[in-house]
């Protein structure tokens, strides 16, 4: 009986056991954990930072090729199936998946930090570094993250909806592993997906908690000590756990839609009350620079000057997106049933990316406008504390307090909805792809997400969050490269399908 349970729940037991070990080690020996994580992180970066760049570019080229190839007309589902959601409903949900804590956290800060500390070949605080900062903000939040998500979501959607297999990463490995997907090799693939999701989500939750805390400290002078951040995580955990346990799926959906509306209101406010033509010029010129340089940006590691900069930023982002990809990929796959590969890839790559570009142009562009034309030194604020820059930025707009509260509300809702969804996804990944996740698994994964975020904040703050995202993403990046191969095998057998059906 026990043996049967163990065999059925191997993925859950293995992944939760190792993550529990990580939490215990972090609680009892934070220095040891930090040393070990730093050593692994340094090893990966020293030897494989190039692989992150090449892989992300390859994922982009691969999905574009699929969209324009003869496979573009293949439907993610049976041939007679039609999409479950209307186009606009689907696009709105893609926004919801793409928009999150990260946009609020980095929207103002990232262009400012690049502007303040560009690679050594650029002069800090110069017009060139401003242009560089915006271009790289577009690049890090542009088409590549969505290509990374697309590889995972397309694979899951294809093997699950068209080939009738469970919605698990291991299902996509059938062409290479065969029946071994039900054995240890398949379980290891799923465990790697769980690790990536836990650390990727915990990183975002850590960012969210840091910024909510920074907002409260800035508005109400609350202590900036780390126990307060932990308190914020505990309160948010109680909220998202309640939501996940009660199964208020509809409530979460309503909250997500409300959040998007709120984000659009905030965006419009900053656009209309800021220097609108300046922002639109930034959008236009950065978009041009991005399109013109996208291949160079994709593969540029700056080995002669700026190598460290590329590792600190581009590699971190690629790793973060990769670690988010099982979670976002699974979500996008679920809402995309019935669409063709071409429609899926082209929409996922363009629509959310365009929205993100607008977001960065408005927030980052306005921040640079204040810095360059109004003499407001926001860059120094971002340089000292990236989570604070957004709230200092709001000080230069009317209704500062309300804007800050809206931002805190947005962050809190994103925190709750992301963590709630991640809990359900983790439960599903560790329950053989089933959506009927037992309560105890939801509780364990919910607590694990928050505990990992707390442990990482305690061991090294923002730095530790970034290190763990890069470390956890590495094995999953290898999984993703194999996913491209297995998806290719599956698609190339499409022509033989009708004959084999006979």
């Amino acid at each position: 009986m026990k043996w049967t349970y163990f065999r059925r729940e191997t993925v859950f037991l293995l992944s939760s056991g190792i993550i529990l070990l990580f939490i215990i080690c972090g609680a009892l020996q934070p220095e040891l954990l930090d040393t070990a994580a730093s050593a692994i992180h340094a090893g990966i970066l020293n030897n494989f930072s190039w692989l992150y760049l090449i892989s992300a570019f390859f994922f982009l080229a691969f999905v574009i090729f699929l969209a324009i190839s003869k496979y573009g007309t293949i439907r993610l589902g049976y041939d007679a199936e039609r999409p479950q959601y209307t186009f606009f409903g689907w696009v709105a949900m893609l926004f919801a998946a793409g928009m999150g804590i990260g946009l609020l956290f980095w929207g103002v800060s990232e262009p400012l930090v690049h502007f303040l500390s560009p690679p050594p070949f650029l002069e800090p605080l110069s017009p060139d570094s401003a242009s560089f900062a915006m271009r790289y903000a577009f690049f890090h939040w542009g088409i590549h993250p969505w290509a990374i998500y697309t590889v995972v979501s397309l694979s899951i959607a294809y093997f699950s909806f068209r080939r009738g297999m469970p919605a698990l990463i291991s299902s996509c490995f059938y062409p290479v592993l065969g029946d071994r997907i039900y054995g240890m090799p398949g379980k290891i693939v799923d465990v790697l997906a769980v690790f990536a999701t836990v650390f990727g989500t915990a990183t975002s939750l850590g960012f969210g908690a840091l910024q909510i805390h920074a907002g409260f400290s800035h508005l109400y002078g609350i202590s900036s000590a780390i126990p307060v951040t932990i308190g914020i995580i505990i309160i948010a955990t109680a909220l998202f756990m309640a939501s996940a346990i009660l199964g208020v799926e509809k409530g979460v959906q309503v909250l997500s839609k409300f959040n998007i509306l709120l984000a659009i209101v905030l965006l419009s406010f900053i656009l209309l009350l800021g220097s609108t033509p300046y922002i639109l010029n930034i959008f236009s010129s950065t978009l041009g620079g991005y399109i013109n340089n996208v291949i160079d940006l994709s593969l540029q590691a700056y080995p002669f000057a700026g190598y460290q900069w590329s590792r600190d930023w581009t590699v971190f982002y690629w790793a973060w997106w990769i670690s988010w990809s099982p979670f976002v990929g699974l979500f996008i796959a679920r809402i995309s049933r019935g669409r063709t590969i071409r429609e899926f890839v082209l929409t996922v790559l363009t629509v959310p990316t365009l929205f993100t570009f607008i977001w960065f142009s408005i927030f980052g562009g306005s921040a640079l406008y204040l810095q360059l034309n109004r003499g407001v030194d926001l860059a120094s604020v971002a340089g000292e504390d990236v989570s604070l820059a957004l709230f200092v930025f709001f000080e230069h707009y009317p209704f500062t307090g309300i804007l800050s509260l809206i931002a805190i509300l947005l962050l809190s809702i994103f925190f709750v909805t992301s963590a709630d969804s991640a809990t359900v996804v983790l439960g599903s990944l560790t329950s053989g792809g089933s959506l009927a996740v037992p309560l105890y698994k939801k509780v364990i994964w919910g607590l694990s997400l928050s505990a990992v975020a707390i442990i990482l904040l305690l061991t090294g703050g923002l730095d530790a969050l970034q290190k763990m995202a890069i470390t956890a993403a590495f094995p999953f990046m290898i999984v993703m490269i194999i996913l491209c191969y297995t998806l290719w095998i599956g698609l190339s057998q499409e022509e033989a399908l009708p004959e084999e059906e006979e």
Partner: protein, 269 residues
């Protein structure tokens, strides 16, 4: 079917060795041999004195084969392929052993080119079957083990008439393919393959003492080489498909099998 065989020869060919080859080909059904030499006009030996060829001809005639001599020039592989067509031979005989004296070495450029260019079946003689007179005696059809590699496409169906002509003790049919993308498709494919293999077994049973079949999933060249070693095959029979785009730098499946195998290869274009 194997009545007439073209053997490319070069200056320095050992008559004793050629005699053994002649006996082997005779045992496989050859009655007539076309000795073909490609002259290199720049070579010291490239003159018109072909008396050494006459000597080789006599060696083969002594064992009861009818022999004719033909010569050609220019690109060696193209000249051999063209001569095979012009002379209407049934097969081209190559040996991977003579020139290098290392039996399982990679093929030389001429042989590789010929395998790609020839429109006539090519018999590449490797370690097995042993030539008559060597340590373990001569090969006879009573103990010939043949491995037929197929994926049921047009190219792998072309060798079937030759396979029936070969005859022998044991024919093992090997079907190699990639795994289907999902368990249901895999199951369907597997049952269809088993069905086809069973029909093929029946078709070949009159020609061999024993006919077996096997289905494997994986890389075609690797699986063929593995099974060939496992069953100690004397000859691997396979069809040559049009080389895939970019296959040349790596070598296509047939080339890899020819290079890596200890068994002889009968490659049907």
């Amino acid at each position: 079917m194997f009545e007439k065989t073209l053997i490319p020869v070069a200056y320095g060919e050992k008559p004793g060795e050629l005699r053994k080859i002649g006996r082997l080909l005779r045992s496989l059904g050859s009655e007539s041999i076309c000795l073909f030499h490609v002259s290199d006009t720049d070579s010291f030996f490239g003159g018109s004195d072909h008396s050494w060829l006459m000597f080789l001809k006599e060696e083969l005639e002594e064992i009861g084969l009818s022999v004719e001599i033909r010569t050609g020039s220019d690109h060696i592989a193209s000249a051999i392929a063209e001569a095979a067509l012009m002379e209407g031979v049934d097969e081209i005989y190559l040996t991977a052993k003579r020139h290098w004296q290392i039996r399982s070495i990679l093929l030389g450029s001429v042989s590789r080119d010929l395998l790609r260019l020839a429109d006539t079946p090519v018999f590449v003689h490797k370690i097995r079957p042993l030539l008559p007179g060597e340590d373990e005696g001569t090969i006879t059809r009573d103990d010939l083990i043949v491995l037929y590699a197929t994926d049921f496409d047009t190219a792998s169906n072309r060798p079937l008439p030759y396979l029936m002509q070969f005859k022998g003790a044991w024919c093992h049919i090997l079907h190699v393919r990639g795994r289907r993308a999902d368990p249901r498709a895999e199951e369907r494919k597997s049952s269809r393959v088993k069905e086809k293999l069973s029909l093929l077994e029946e078709e070949l049973r009159p020609y061999y003492g024993r006919v077996t079949s096997e289905e494997r999933i994986g890389n075609a060249a690797n699986e063929v080489l593995f099974v060939s070693d496992q069953i100690n095959a004397d000859v691997i029979i396979l069809g040559r498909s049009r080389p895939a785009f970019l296959s040349s730098p790596m070598g296509n499946t047939a080339e890899r099998i020819v290079s890596g195998s200890k068994a002889s290869i009968f490659l049907v274009p």
